[in-house]
Amino acid sequence: MDHEMIKYLAELSKLYFTDEELDDNAIQMTNIVNLMDSIKEIDIEYNPLADNHNVYLPDLREDQNFPSLETSRVLQNGMNSNNCFVVPKVVE
């Protein structure tokens, strides 16, 4: 896996890497993907609609309304002001 691919994945992952970290990750991700590549040996198809037996749709409940957490408690772990999360200016 080369630097370009790591940079692409870093962008998808919302992460920054220094050049040294890019070097390390290129080596380690190459080793990991080499391990994962043996899965290509097996001839198997997967249809998410027909083959996914992990979720039992009949078991899903109807939507129900419940009280939300108080705003002050929702905000307690973020940088906040006037009942809002503080973020940099997004719109000029």
Binding site: L35, I39, I42, N52, V55, R73
Partner: protein
Amino acid sequence: MDITTLKVREMRSLLDEKKISAKELAEGFVSNIKAKDDTYKCYITTTEELALEQAEKAQKIIDSGNATALTGIPMAIKDNVCTEGILTTCASKMLENFIPPYNATIMEKLNAENFVMLGKASLDEFAMGSSTQSSVFAKTKNPYNIEKVPGGSSGGSAAALAAGFCAAAIGSDTGGSIRQPAAFCGVTGMKPTYGRVSRYGVVAFASSFDQVGALALDSHDCGIILNKLSGYDLHDGTSSKNPVPNFTDKIGKDIKGMKIAMPKEFYDDGVSKEIKASVLQAAELYKSMGAELVECSIPSVKYVIQAYYLIACAEASSNLSRFDGIRYGHRSTLGETYEEIIKHSRSEGFGDEVKRRILLGNYALSSGYYDAYYGKAMGLRQLIKQEYNNIFETCDVILTPTTETTAYNCDAKAVTDPVHMYQGDMCTVPVNVAGLPAISTPCGYDSTGLPIGMSVVGKPFDEQTIIQVADVFEKSFTRIAPKLI
């Protein structure tokens, strides 16, 4: 009285008979933690004051004759379980200061029992690891040998129990994170069927694998704890509506005629000779009790590490996208724009292994790679499930080693090299891929005195039988407690 060797049910009797008070129990464990946890680093946060308050409240309930199974029982909680008003870090800089505004469902259930919380136990960062050495705050040591890892990711929970720093502990198991540390630390750990216990309020790693479970000194105690944690929760759409039986009801029943499957893939050359010998000796004991040992095969487990890591990391990359430094979690002081703040916050907040798993997950899900990796892994998952189902058509349980080796050194390749780390999970991840219940219990010690664990795997929602089978072995096995330094 040595409280560290008491089972939960023995404590229950002593408490109810007023031979010991809830406060004495809590103070005993707090004292052990204060004396030795600086060395073993099992806890990230200790909650002494709360524990003593809870013990006082529990005592009043005991005195009124209204105690239930866990009233006054001092326990450790893995630090990825949200505890209202109490620091919940996931052993990550990302959540260094995170104080949940709500309780996980399992905490509500434990509090309803009036249990006593001793603290939040260490883990690998975001439960991603097998050694507890990626914890940013407490790199836990194995009580049997301080040079060795306690396993992971619930290494703090397992080591705290083995060291006598709690009576029982809560862990979570995504790919073996309860059973592997239980094996390394010489205690019993149980992962119930996927869906048995609500995941609401447990910080998500891989949602289709994550499952909460218990660690205790034997399987009977695990059953007692899981009786109280299990059941449908409307906050968790994947929790099961299946009725919850009393998990300990089959204890003591004869195992004569029971068929115990032994898949050959778990007894190959990758497993150490001492571990193989210990598990085979346990199998012979079952045979002498009238059980039939059945040789069988699960051919697709050859690919299980790949299937597990591709799916788990894909889910992790999605689950961890919520950590943006805006609503909660580490907020970087760098960056001018919204996007830059998020990237800096995540880059500073996550450790190396967490970042690697996010990268791998995004790789497996990205355009051009999805079918070759994620699609194949999901197909394999169905195949592996089918192969387990085929075995359970004729057998009652499956017996395997829990790990291929005993606890390794804190600087071993299995800690520092991700490929070695992932391959070390060979004996535990198949159970998560198939969503089955499993229990690991000690079955021997290697030549250096390190514990060996064996796993009993059951049919979906048949926790009763694996507890029955593990219990009958435990009754003939003498556990050797670690000698703390």
